[in-house]
């Protein structure tokens, strides 16, 4: 599948209807600063986001502005400007038509009635979502089976693990058999097994012909699940396409991972100043810091990098091929730098 441009042309009639179509979506939050002397403050969370999703596709925006974008698409927020349609219905005017066709699943602990059972939660939402009473119990049983909660449905939700709650969320979002499912960081806080089960559930939904728009912080998840990925930074889509398309930007690079213990900021700066080094990112672990150094020189640069770090205590060192996460870091770093330069230029 080809990468799509941030501003997609209207599809040809033979292409079939779009599941989601967003055109120049902008959302500004009006808030204020200060307690006694309150000053108005406008926060531009989404700055002209445009994308299309066809039925049966997955798309994975990541970064600032993703929840706001989803909330505009599911009719919970009004766009400040721009427009969007879901299954052909306008998200501002045709709210009931949009809501009938979408499911919304978000991550975290909220969004369920804790003091009653999972089954009671599902029955309640089935009524709210207009599920045919004759089909309700059969539908709930099938969904409990799909998300692996059969046998646990009569327990109170307050006793559920985070993974169970997340699976209940998914069952709730699918009660009315929506055509388009929005998932906002559904794997947040899940343990590895829970996250793997969730990914399997998402795959099953896509195989069943559902359109899923999923946001995630985890690049490997986007790579594994999404036909197409869009990266949002600072309210703008900065890149989009398949996982392989995004990786192209860093394909000719080598990533050297250096485990250090108590590395000094000056040593990291020395690495950054190396003309052969493109980017350095630091990840804090329990006792160590992992330096991710991007270079076009290949693994042979490793010795030079270690020499630049001087007396720093070094642990494991690995040179590897770039992943989607490296591409993401590169995209975010480069767009943040160019934004900063633009702002500096604007300030004179």
């Amino acid at each position: 599948m080809n990468a799509f441009a941030p501003r997609c042309p209207t599809p040809h009639a033979s292409d079939g209807p779009l599941a989601i179509e967003a055109v120049d979506l902008v959302r500004i939050y009006h808030t204020h600063t200060g307690v006694i002397r309150r000053r108005p403050l406008d926060v531009e969370a989404v700055r002209g986001v445009s994308f299309n999703v066809r039925p049966g596709e997955l798309l994975g925006p990541n970064g600032a502005g993703k929840t706001t974008t989803i909330k505009m698409l599911i009719t919970l927020l009004l766009p400040t400007s721009g427009s969007a349609r879901v299954m052909g219905y306008d998200v501002v005017r045709d709210t009931t038509d949009v809501r009938r066709r979408i499911g919304y699943v978000f991550g975290g602990d909220r969004g369920l009635y804790d003091r009653v059972s999972g089954l009671d939660n599902l029955r309640y939402f089935a009524e709210l979502y207009g599920v045919d009473p004759a089909q309700r119990d059969r539908r709930i049983a099938a969904l409990l089976e799909l998300v692996g909660l059969t046998g646990r449905e009569n327990e109170k939700v307050e006793g559920f693990s985070r993974g169970m709650r997340q699976r209940l969320h998914i069952a709730r979002g699918l009660l009315h058999d929506p055509q388009v499912i929005f998932m906002d960081e559904p794997s947040i806080g899940l343990d590895p097994i829970g996250a793997r089960e969730l990914r399997q559930t998402v795959k099953t939904l896509v195989e069943a012909g559902k359109t899923v728009l999923l946001t995630t912080h985890y690049m490997f998840e986007a790579d594994a699940l999404c036909d197409r990925i869009a990266v949002i930074n600072d309210g703008r889509i900065v890149a989009s396409g398949t996982g392989d398309d995004l990786k192209q930007a860093v394909l000719n690079r080598t990533i050297v991972e250096i485990e250090t213990f108590g590395v000094a900021p000056e040593a990291v700066d020395r690495l950054r100043d190396d003309p052969e080094v493109i980017a350095v990112n630091t990840e804090e672990r329990d006792q160590s810091q992992i330096l991710l150094v991007q270079s076009e020189r290949g693994p042979e640069i490793t010795q030079r990098l270690l020499g630049t770090l001087g007396d720093t205590r070094i642990g494991k060192v690995v040179a590897r091929e770039p992943t989607l996460e490296d591409a993401y870091v590169h995209l975010i770093a480069s767009t943040t730098r160019s934004d900063g330069a633009e702002r500096a230029a604007a300030l004179g």
Binding site: L76, Y113, D120, H176
Partner: protein
């Protein structure tokens, strides 16, 4: 949405809200224990004033019970929205492909019906501890009076809940409205004893006419048709005000992104 589907939806939300209130210690105390304390205080006060007649005790018991109903209505309608906002379910309810005014109506009726269970508790308390007789001058009108009171209080609760959808700190409003309405609606002290300028305010309140209807069917010599009629009339007015306000409030909530603010 068909009539049958609408009724089913309201019934489901009502029943679900009653269950949610039943598992809340706060609402159990508010609905079942507080009125007993008020009723006990009132019984002793009337005894001190040498008004120990059966009708006086029933008057006090009904008033105390209605105080509990009002508290439950106020906190059960508004507080439920605040709690849903906290739990993250408010967005899901607003975003459901159904009419949110019906959901809100079901929640309000759930709170009011739960509150009326407290009246039964207060009457049982008065009968057991103070030998209060349970009489009714118009027993056939009593169910209608209760129904009218539930409908009018439910519609008022819905109107109050509308403000909670928009404002996360609207509980300050419900705290402020609890005690004054007890007084203004004549739940323990007859409205006639209040200053004349207060009385027009009383006439606009559902608890005033709900109380009049119930006391009329139990204690008065004239059937409470007027109070019952006022309950239904006010319910219609409250409901349409709530619908208009809700449309405006939901637009503002989508514009200002307030639904998930805690």
């Amino acid at each position: 949405m068909s009539l049958a589907r609408s009724v089913r939806l309201i019934w489901w939300v009502t029943w679900f809200n009653v269950r949610m209130l039943l598992v809340s210690e706060f609402f159990v105390l508010l609905t079942f224990v507080s009125p007993l304390i008020f009723a006990t205080l009132a019984f002793f006060l009337f005894r001190l004033g040498h008004s120990t007649g059966g009708q006086t005790l029933l008057y006090a018991a009904l008033g105390s019970g209605m105080m509990g109903v009002w508290s439950t209505t106020l906190f059960g309608c508004g507080g439920a929205i605040a709690w849903q906002r906290w739990e993250g379910t408010l967005e899901l309810l607003v975003n459901a492909p159904t009419r949110y005014d019906f959901i809100l109506a079901g929640q309000a009726f759930g709170a009011v019906i739960f509150g009326f269970a407290g009246i039964l508790m207060t009457i049982a308390w008065g009968m057991l501890l103070f030998g209060m007789p349970l009489t009714s001058t118009f027993p056939l009108l009593l169910p209608l009076s209760l129904f009218a009171a539930v409908v009018s209080l439910g519609a008022l609760g819905m109107l109050i809940a509308t403000s909670f959808v928009l404002y996360r700190h609207a509980n300050a409003l419900s705290n402020m409205l609890e005690y004054p309405i007890w007084l203004v609606a004549g739940l323990l002290v007859p409205i006639a004893t209040l200053p004349a300028w207060v009385q027009p305010i009383s006439w606009l309140l559902a608890p005033t006419w709900g109380m009049d209807a119930i006391r009329g069917a139990t204690l008065q010599s004239q059937p409470p048709w007027f109070a019952i009629g006022m309950c239904f009339a006010l319910a219609v007015v409250y409901y349409f005000l709530a619908r208009v306000a809700l449309r405006y409030v939901l637009h503002l909530a989508r514009r200002d992104a307030t639904l998930d603010l805690r």
